[in-house]
Every structure is written in structure tokens, then in C-alpha cells.
Symmetry: C2
Subunit: 182 residues, 2 copies
DNA sequence: GTGCAAGCGGACACGGTGTCCACTTATGGG
DNA sequence: CCCATAAGTGGACACCGTGTCCGCTTGCAC
């Protein structure tokens, strides 16, 4: 059971972190900043979240769960029922939305390889792997990662900064999905 | 004009850095390590290379130039003359070879977004963009980045660590190339 | 009200980065 | 051949972020 003050502090930490990530960009926010903004000590912060990535993960968790639920049990084409190529295209489109809303705040903290170690990546990977296998393409193991690569938060923010619109990125991904799983 | 001792130190720095990157993995090597191994002071090191990424870049430069030359003026299918889909597949294959030889040593230093800021990425991007445009696909701007994403060094080392072989990765990329630019 | 464990927070040590400046040395002109 | 000079050198230093540790506080159950 969690003590009341602990719960309150957890909420304050997440709230403060979300605000700071949004204002400064996740990589520019230090653990110290977060602790100070939340009005807690460093020790308290580290007790729950050993690093920035785990805070980002906690902030993302809810949004990811919603999408995961839709993939497993939602309506086609996102959920089961549609042909693999269309399910992949729908997944891409949903992920672009998710990135558009949250990449600049949060995903920036998942720098480099740590991205692949998260549970979320495992889920996306399993989903795409199933689609790829259903479509009967060669080397499904490798192809699943390959098809997830364009969703790297780093790449997305880079593309957005270069002036590409979400629509245009989605268009490219839709073409890719249809072509790769035909 | 560069003084003789400066040239000698530059060579020693690059040699020491290459050895350390190979032995310890690029992210685990500090600037101090490199300076000590090269037998120069920190100031000397920083004078030429302000960070690890610039050292990695210098080490990669030669290999990248060779491939770039082949893309511009080499034999088909890598060079001009073959259909876009086959040129892209050949490019993927060559990049996998390059990653296999050097990713674990060097590309690890190009962490996160800095990858996109390098001249090399610009070159790959222009090349793929030309192929994509020639193939007449929609949203060529976005698609060029999308098709380069699977070559991220982070992803490559992750796939290799998970047991995927270069052959298998190349197979997935070949399928992707043929499918995307048909 | 009281005992106590969970929670708290700031002080601390560590390690890496990047800067700065007094010293050294190669180089080219006299 | 030697000297003036500017490029080059190297290590000391200050700064910053991280993560840990431990004495104190506080909520909770009885």
C-alpha cells in the first residue's frame, strides 16, 4: 500500500516533469530541475524514478495503453479483421498522431538504444511481426524491426523540424505499408 | 599549413581512438581516455575534435567516401544505370556491409539526432531521394528519410545482438527496396 | 497516543566535460 | 645559423549532472 504523501509526491513529480519536458525539451531537463519544480528532494525523486527515461515512460504509459488496446481489440483496420497491409497503414497513422502529440515532450528522453529495451517497443514489434508473417514476406524477424524504424522519435522530430507535415509523413508510411505487405 | 608535430598528433589520436572504440565500445570511451592513450593532453585533443562524434566522423570519412564514389560513378546496380528498386537494394546491401564492419566501433558515437546533421546523412538522403523520385512514388521527401531509417546504427546493433544475421537483415531490406520502388 | 516502518531530502563524492593560459617547439626570414 | 613568432601543447581548474547514503520526519495501524 502506498502512503498518501508518497502518492501526492508522485503526482507532483509527473506533473512537474510533463511541464518541464514541454517547456524545455526533454533532453535539456535535469533530474535536479524536476525535483526542484516538484518541490521534492533528489532522494525522493530517485526513489521512484532512477532516470529520465523512466519518468518519460510513466508519462507515456497511458497513451500507449490506449493504442495497444485498439490494436488488440479495436475496430478494423486498426484492430483485427482487415488485411495486413491496411492494418499496418492504420498503425502507422495512429503512431504518427501519437508522435505528433507527445514526441517532442517525452520520447526525446528515450535516447538511442534504450528505445528498444522498453516494453512498448516489444509490443509494437510483436504486432508488426504478426502482420508481416500473415502477409508471408521473407525474413519476417528482420522486417518487423525494419518497418518500425521510421517511427523513431529522433527521426520524426527531425522530419518535422525540416518542414515535413504529419500528413506528408503519413503518406510516405502508407505507401510503404501497402507496398511492403502486398 | 599544418605543422609536423600537429600532423603526428592527429594520426596518434585517430589511431588511439579507433583502438579504444573497438575495445570498449564508443560510448564507453571518454575524451580523457583517448587523450591519455594517444599520449597528448586534453587541450590538444579538444583543439581538433570538440567531441567524440567528430572523431568518429573522421574515422568513418574514408569508408563513406569510397561508397559515395561508387554510388555516383560506379558500376550498376550500385552506380547509375540500373532501375531505382535495384539500385536501392544494392545501396542497402552495401550499407549493411559498412555497418557490419564499423557500426560497433564508430557509429555508436553518433547518438540520437546528431546522425542527421552529418554530411554523410545528407548524401545518403539525396541519393535515396533521387531514386524515390525516379520511381515516381508519393511524398518523396518524407519517403527518403523513411527508407533510410532502417539503417540507423542503433537499430543495426540491436538487431545483431538479438541474433539476426547480416544476411537476414539484407533480405528484409531487399524486399523493402523492391516493394517500395516498384 | 505511540511505535515503527515507509518515506523524505539534502549533503556528498564521483566522473566527465570543456576552458584557459603559461610553456614549448616548429618554421621561415634575416 | 640563429632568432622572432605564431602555432601548438598539456595539464590544472571550475562546472555540472548523476547517483548514493543516512539521519530525520511523518503517516498509519493498533
Amino acid at each position: 500500500m502506498e502512503r498518501a504523501d508518497a502518492a501526492r509526491n508522485r503526482a507532483r513529480i509527473l506533473e512537474a516533469a510533463a511541464a518541464l519536458f514541454a517547456a524545455e525539451g526533454a533532453p535539456n531537463v535535469t533530474m535536479d530541475d524536476i525535483a526542484r519544480a516538484a518541490g521534492v528532494g533528489r532522494g525522493t525523486l530517485y526513489r521512484r524514478y532512477p532516470d529520465r527515461a523512466s519518468i518519460a515512460l510513466a508519462l507515456l504509459d497511458e497513451h500507449e495503453r490506449v493504442l495497444q488496446e485498439k490494436l488488440l481489440r479495436g475496430e478494423p483496420p486498426l484492430g483485427p479483421g482487415a488485411p495486413p497491409a491496411e492494418r499496418l497503414a492504420a498503425f502507422y497513422s495512429a503512431m504518427v498522431e501519437l508522435l505528433e502529440d507527445h514526441a517532442h515532450l517525452v520520447l526525446g528522453a528515450e535516447t538511442g538504444r534504450s528505445r528498444f529495451e522498453t516494453g512498448a517497443y516489444g509490443f509494437w514489434r510483436a504486432h508488426v511481426h504478426a502482420l508481416v508473417t500473415a502477409a508471408g514476406t521473407p525474413a519476417p524477424d528482420a522486417l518487423a524491426d525494419t518497418l518500425l524504424a521510421p517511427l523513431a522519435p529522433d527521426l520524426y522530430t527531425y522530419q518535422r523540424d525540416r518542414g515535413l507535415t504529419p500528413d506528408r509523413i503519413t503518406a510516405a508510411l502508407t505507401h510503404l505499408a501497402k507496398a511492403a505487405l502486398s
